[in-house]
């Protein structure tokens, strides 16, 4: 059983901030099948199409029949811990700083044996549940936890290295005027965030839902217009060193594509708000987050983007908006690479049309802002990188994988 983590004490400004180190990063190309699984919170192993054997580590041919038909499939997560050890003097800086570090060998019920990081409550000989997690290098690693819940389970030291749990962390939600922003604030507070800063542009201008944010302990409204470089710079100068999780809820949705619009003024607004706003936030808050990736219980941990699933495939009815989202998606991969040395995750949530005024004419199903907020929290707790919220987003993803051309034709209607 593990003790709950203690709230972090006030930081001594005279002490040097421990700089982030990265666990070993090299992987074979095939091994990134696990990276894909981990990014989405799935547990996938290679299985031979010819004989059904599950294989691990990543292979190029089946060890039972030499078939090259090894396919990553969702696999049963259960196994038994055969043996464990505690590495006390690792040769690598990341692990040396975090030693003692516990690992074990797990025999999966479906066959293979896996070396795994262990949750502290794993017991030799007992069943474990396996997952793939993204470690601080951004690569997939196997993580074994006990079957069933144990007290303070998410507070496990090694598990917390794999996740971006909001507990005791300080969060900036960049747009408190939006429904998603307000629901996100509530969900993050409920998940144990120590402080949620809520960005609001021109905060003297009243807005719906304001009373939910004002005067609440642990919630602070701050002035932020992400599209305005000076506004972002000013806020970062004030709170940049204490933002552990940034939730980019910038939202600018307008219908229309190319030929039915005149000129570029709306497109320019879309780009200003979504794309340049993203750049402003990244440039002003990113460097401090990258530096604080190993700064104790409330180290910086994650950057969250809420993107339209039409970033993946253009929806002509909202064609220019889709393109602005595609630009943000591309930029998020750049940000992920640049935050990676700090061990800071970039998590993208893809949603279908959200139940807000700008999608008023779109028929259901639509995503409730609260569902987006809950997905943010569960994604942070699970250490995910990609989340598809709601049925529309999940379906678009599947259709895109199945046949991009079919999806393109069918979105044109």
């Amino acid at each position: 059983m593990i003790d709950p983590i203690e709230p972090p004490r006030r930081k001594n400004p005279l002490l040097r901030t421990r700089l982030p180190a990265s666990p070993p990063r090299p992987r074979s190309r095939t091994s990134h099948g696990f990276t894909r699984a981990a990014a989405e919170g799935r547990f996938m192993l290679q299985r031979c199409e010819a004989c059904g054997t599950f294989a691990y580590p990543a292979r190029e041919a089946c060890p039972a029949c030499l078939s090259a038909g090894l396919v990553f499939v969702d696999a049963p997560r259960r196994g038994a811990l055969l043996a464990e050890t505690t590495a006390r003097v690792p040769s690598d800086v990341y692990f040396r700083e975090r030693a003692p570090w516990r690992i074990g060998l797990v025999r999966m019920d479906c066959g293979p044996t896996m070396v795994a990081h262990l949750h502290a409550d794993c017991v030799e000989g007992a069943p474990v549940i396996m997952s793939f997690q993204l470690d601080k290098s951004g690569q997939a690693v196997a993580f074994a936890r006990p079957e069933g819940e144990t007290p303070n389970m998410a507070d496990d030291r090694q598990w917390r290295e794999m996740t971006a749990d909001p507990k005791f962390r300080r969060v900036l939600v960049t747009n408190g005027r939006s429904m998603i922003g307000q629901e996100a604030v509530a969900a993050l507070k409920a998940a144990g965030a120590k402080m949620v800063f809520v960005g609001v542009s021109e905060p003297w201008r009243p807005f719906a839902g304001e009373q939910l944010l004002r005067g609440q302990a642990g919630i602070e409204i701050v002035t932020l217009d992400a599209a305005d470089e000076k506004s972002a710079t000013d806020l970062a100068a004030d709170i940049g060193g204490k933002v552990d999780i940034l939730v980019n809820t910038t939202e600018y949705v307008r219908p229309g594509g190319l030929l039915d619009r005149k000129g570029t003024s709306i497109a320019r607004d879309e780009v200003d708000q979504a794309y340049l706003g993203f750049i402003n936030l990244a440039q002003t808050f990113g460097p401090a987050m990258r530096m604080r990736g190993a700064d104790g219980i409330n180290s910086s941990a994650a950057w969250v983007n809420i993107l339209s699933v039409y970033a993946l495939a253009n929806w002509p009815a909202f064609g220019a908006y889709s393109a602005s989202q595609a630009a943000c998606l591309s930029l998020s991969h750049c940000l992920r690479a640049e935050l990676r040395p700090g061990g800071v995750k970039v998590m993208n949530l893809f949603t279908g049309p959200v139940d807000t005024e700008w999608f008023q004419t779109v028929p259901p199903p639509k995503v409730a802002p609260r569902a987006v907020a809950q997905a943010i929290v569960s994604g942070l707790k699970g250490g995910l990188e990609e989340i598809y919220v709601g049925d529309v987003a999940a379906e678009i993803k599947q259709r895109l994988a199945a046949n991009p051309k079919a999806l393109e034709r069918e979105l044109d209607k």
Partner: protein, 392 residues
């Protein structure tokens, strides 16, 4: 005893055992160490470098070189060449290949050599780049290296067979006693069982004195036909039998036995001897628990009786079961791939009566084993050889 169908190593001998004294760290390259070993081989055998017409090399730290680069580097012109990257099984594998080469007259004098340097950073780099499975699925898990991997094996083995740390410690303590008589051993202070038990944990249940000390060094010997040795006036040991096995018992969920267990009958049958006949035994001691496993798998006792075996026997030079007489890798040092050669070369010195301060009285018949390549969750390579000195 079963019969062996394999072609006997009739008239195949090993000669000129050479050890270049180890150094904890070296600023020299692996090529430098291998060069020293070749030079010592030539001097010891009283031959010219041009008499060597076969070369077999093992090293972890040669960089982009393999055996072919070394021929030009050292001015050797050979008609048989091999590079063996089998870690702790390299010496046995080299011996097997060289023996068949000289038997078939593809070569007359094969130099088997292994050498590695140890720069301050080279051990970590070797760990990081050991194998694809290691890179993908072991090293990112705590970066404990071989210590962590063998800790898992040791823990399971010890629990399964009721082995205590004290049982395992007897092996390390006896080897340290042997090492004190080897002037070149890196460990120069006595080790008591109390000290062994009190050592700091590295990766439970592996503690400090279960671990070898990586170092720089080189080892070598020659393989030839007996008439060649006779014409050179070289004392030589006859090769009686060998075994080699890779990825044995892949279905065992965890390693509790090595490939020796699959081939041990063949080992003794081909040599025409019994385990009891051996005068000296050199096991591959990357960890003492692996040595205990070998006592079982090489037929000195049954599986699960390794602990009782070490309790019942004295493993020192003067004991009833002289074992790892130079101190083994645990106490002499672990010079990379040359660690695979250490036991074989020392065994050769023993049966040739050349071991000096570590000499076992009247040693005539020796066994040396190899084990290596913890590619993922277990050591994959195993091998052993039995050879006899001129007195037998």
């Amino acid at each position: 005893m079963k019969n062996s169908l394999r072609t006997p190593y009739d008239g195949i001998v090993m000669a000129a055992p050479v050890t270049i004294p180890y150094a904890r760290y070296s600023i020299e390259s692996a090529q430098w160490w291998i060069g020293r070993a070749l030079s010592a081989l030539v001097a010891k055998a009283g031959i010219k470098a041009s008499d060597i017409d076969g070369l077999c090399v093992s090293s972890f730290t040669m960089g982009t070189d393999s055996g072919i680069g070394l021929t030009q580097h050292f001015g050797l012109c050979v008609r048989w060449l091999d590079t063996i990257p089998l870690g702790g099984a390299s010496a046995i594998a080299a011996l097997r290949k060289a023996a068949r080469a000289v038997q078939a007259r593809d070569a007359d004098i094969v130099a088997c050599v292994a050498g590695d340097t140890n720069h301050v950073d080279s051990f970590r780099l070797t760990l990081e780049n050991f194998s694809r499975f290691n890179q993908d699925a072991v090293y990112p898990y705590g970066a404990g290296g071989a210590n962590a991997s063998f800790a898992l094996i040791a823990r399971n083995y010890m629990r399964t067979y009721g082995v205590t740390r004290e049982d395992v410690g007897r092996i390390a303590v006896a080897q340290r006693a042997n090492a004190l008589r080897n002037p070149h051993a890196l460990m120069k202070t006595p080790l008591t069982i109390e000290q062994y038990l009190a050592a700091r944990p590295i990766s439970d249940p592996i503690h400090l004195f279960d671990c070898v000390m990586p170092c720089a060094g080189a080892e070598a010997f020659l393989v030839m036909r007996d008439e060649t040795a006779a014409s050179l006036g070289l004392p030589a040991a006859r090769l009686l039998s060998t075994i080699e096995r890779h990825n044995a018992f892949a279905d065992d969920p965890m390693q509790v036995r090595g490939g020796w267990a699959m081939d041990v009958g063949e080992l003794y049958a081909m040599a025409g001897v019994k385990p009891d006949d051996l005068d000296v035994v050199q096991t591959y001691d990357d960890y003492p628990v692996i040595t205990m496993m070998q006592f079982e798998d090489l037929g000195f006792c049954n599986k699960g009786e390794g602990a009782a075996f070490v309790r019942q026997h004295d493993l020192t030079i003067e004991g009833d079961f002289p074992h790892n007489t130079s101190g083994g890798q645990l106490s002499a040092g672990q010079p990379g791939a040359a660690g695979a050669y250490l036991g074989l070369v020392e065994g050769l010195r023993q049966v040739l009566g050349e071991a000096g301060p570590t000499q076992v009285k009247d040693a005539k018949l020796a066994l040396a084993s190899g084990f290596g390549m913890i590619n993922y969750d277990r050591g994959l390579a195993s091998g052993a050889a039995i050879f006899a000195g001129p007195a037998r």
